[in-house]
């Protein structure tokens, strides 16, 4: 099963990277000609996808005054100071940063300082599996969230539900040992990092 989805996601990732210029793992230094061909193909595909969807540059609004940096780094030159309420088009993202094109210039700012517009409520428009999602998101099969009219569980369902012993047995059977979790993390290139908790007060 992982083939269809997994392969697609794996395949899609470099496209997004080349399209948005994100650093990610970077390119291997000594690429074979096959790799280079593949890379060129991916870049071409990304360019085509971008060209096919000029409307995908999404306008966002600043939630607070924010500096616009030439690169996604705090020590990069500052391009402009954007005020609360200013707007710009998102043309890429990298970690905490969004690449924004504004009348005052193009640069990077923190994603949590902007707000994307809410989509219009409309029957059949539940957000998943949209045109842009299919265009830019990982190629994935039908999303259950687009099943129309099925609203799922709510407060009453939760309050009224009774214990399901069979499902609990299943849940308990799926538990992962620390060893299994560590092994999976290593396989995904994850290593533990020391990070202090965030203070709730402004620093």
């Amino acid at each position: 099963m992982a083939l269809a989805g997994g392969e697609a996601a794996h395949y899609n990732q470099p496209i997004a990277q080349s399209a948005f210029g994100t650093s990610g793992a970077g390119l291997p230094g000594n690429m074979s000609s096959r790799d280079q061909a593949l890379q060129a193909y991916r870049f071409l595909l990304a360019a085509l996808l971008l060209a096919a969807a000029p409307a995908a540059a999404q306008q966002v609004t600043l939630e607070r005054d924010s500096l616009l940096y030439a690169e996604p780094r705090l020590d990069a030159p500052q391009v402009a100071t954007l005020k609360l309420g200013a707007t710009g088009d998102v043309i890429g993202k990298q970690g905490a940063w969004l690449n924004l094109k504004t009348p005052a210039g193009t640069g990077w700012l923190f994603s949590f300082n902007v707000r994307f517009p809410s989509q219009q409520a409309a029957a059949g428009n539940t957000g998943a599996g949209t045109a842009a999602g299919r265009l830019f998101g990982p190629r994935r099969s039908v999303s259950v969230t687009s099943t129309i009219g099925v609203r799922g569980i709510d407060e009453e369902d939760l309050k009224g539900a009774s214990f399901n012993a069979d499902q609990m047995k299943l849940l308990e059977g799926y538990a992962a040992t620390k060893e299994a979790a560590e092994q999976k993390a290593r396989a995904s290139g994850l290593a533990p990092v020391g990070v202090d908790y965030l203070d709730s007060k402004k620093q």
């Binding site: 999404q58 970690g95 517009p117 949209t130 842009a132 309050k159 799926y174 533990p192 990092v193």
Partner: protein, 323 residues
């Protein structure tokens, strides 16, 4: 006034304890149990916390079963356990599951139970986003937020005058309170705290710290009257407000936070049927019905006609944050 108030409270307690328990509840004893609730919640040790959490989680599974995709469930458990190992409570019996419902939500129950809905899971584009969601829920458990609510619950203090009685009934009522907290939500400050913890735990586990921020953007972009989000929006502060709170603490720390990894997320097996409707669906308009058919057709080709050629924010997010 006093007796009327008592009856209301008794009825409320009975309702919270669920239909199965309601039948066996002796109203005369409920207030006796209240006393025990107070003592038990305050003095709840870890094994009791786990027992109560297991019951609350089991009831949630009664509302929606697990997605019938064992590999997916095993995967989510490995991701979740790895994050939980970065906390002060690495040895709780951590359990993670994906509920087969189109609702967009995630739940934590005391003692290490974390449940994410399929609706939310399928919105996610990266494992770092999943990590952000799981880490938020893990934060609730590590901080014992639900236990604290039980402790401070008005329901608990209402019954504090009575004397000590039946242990089973006591546990049943604690569970009822726990299920109620799941359905009613924690207070805003607990949610903001879990967000701050979520960012940090994901980073500690080696992921991008910003997966949760991306998920909050995804949620904020969805319509407020989206039925699949009703419970989440009812039980949590608005996603925009959560982003604002996070921005306050993140902005000064960005330079110090690690970049982290954004591995691809495992997808629900395409062989897995969509979740059964929990309740009869509202009649869908004709255009929706055709959209549904189109979805079921499994096409992944962009369709310019489906929504008037417009690109909605949710879709763009999938692009922006989808890697």
């Amino acid at each position: 006034m006093s007796s009327g108030w008592r009856w209301t409270t008794a009825a409320l307690l009975a309702a919270l304890a669920g239909p199965a328990a309601a039948a066996s509840i002796d109203f005369g004893r409920i207030f006796d149990v209240g006393r025990d609730l107070t003592t038990a919640a305050k003095g709840m040790d870890e094994s009791e916390e786990i027992a109560v959490g297991r019951e609350v989680a089991g009831r949630t599974l009664g509302a929606a079963p697990l997605v019938a995709d064992p590999e997916l469930q095993a995967y989510v458990n490995r991701v979740g356990r790895w994050i939980a190992m970065q906390t002060e409570r690495p040895d709780l019996p951590w359990h993670f599951g994906v509920l087969d419902t189109s609702s967009i939500n995630a739940f934590a129950a005391p003692g290490g139970y974390v449940l994410v809905t399929r609706g939310l899971y399928e919105m996610l584009e990266t494992e770092s986003q999943l990590a952000g969601v799981l880490a938020h829920e893990i934060g609730h458990i590590v901080q014992r937020h639900h236990v604290k609510v039980m402790q401070h619950s008005a329901l608990v203090s209402a019954g504090a005058r009575a004397s000590q009685r039946d242990r089973n009934l006591l546990v049943n009522n604690l569970i009822g309170t726990g299920a109620e907290v799941l359905a009613r939500g924690l207070d805003k400050s607990a949610e903001f705290e879990a967000d701050r913890i979520g960012v940090v735990l994901a980073a500690r586990a080696g992921y991008s710290p910003y997966g949760l921020v991306e998920v909050l953007h995804l949620l904020a972009a969805r319509s407020a009257d989206d039925a699949t989000l009703a419970l989440l929006f009812k039980t949590h502060p608005a996603p925009g407000e959560r982003l604002t709170q996070l921005a306050d603490v993140l902005e000064p720390r960005v330079a110090a936070l690690p970049t982290g990894k954004e591995p691809a997320i495992r997808q629900v097996s395409p062989n897995t049927p969509p979740p059964a409707a929990a309740k009869p669906a509202k009649p869908a308009p004709a255009e929706s019905a055709s959209a549904l058919q189109q979805e079921e057709g499994g096409t992944t080709i962009p369709s310019t006609g489906a929504s008037g050629g417009g690109l909605d924010a949710g879709g763009v997010f999938r692009g922006i944050f989808g890697r």
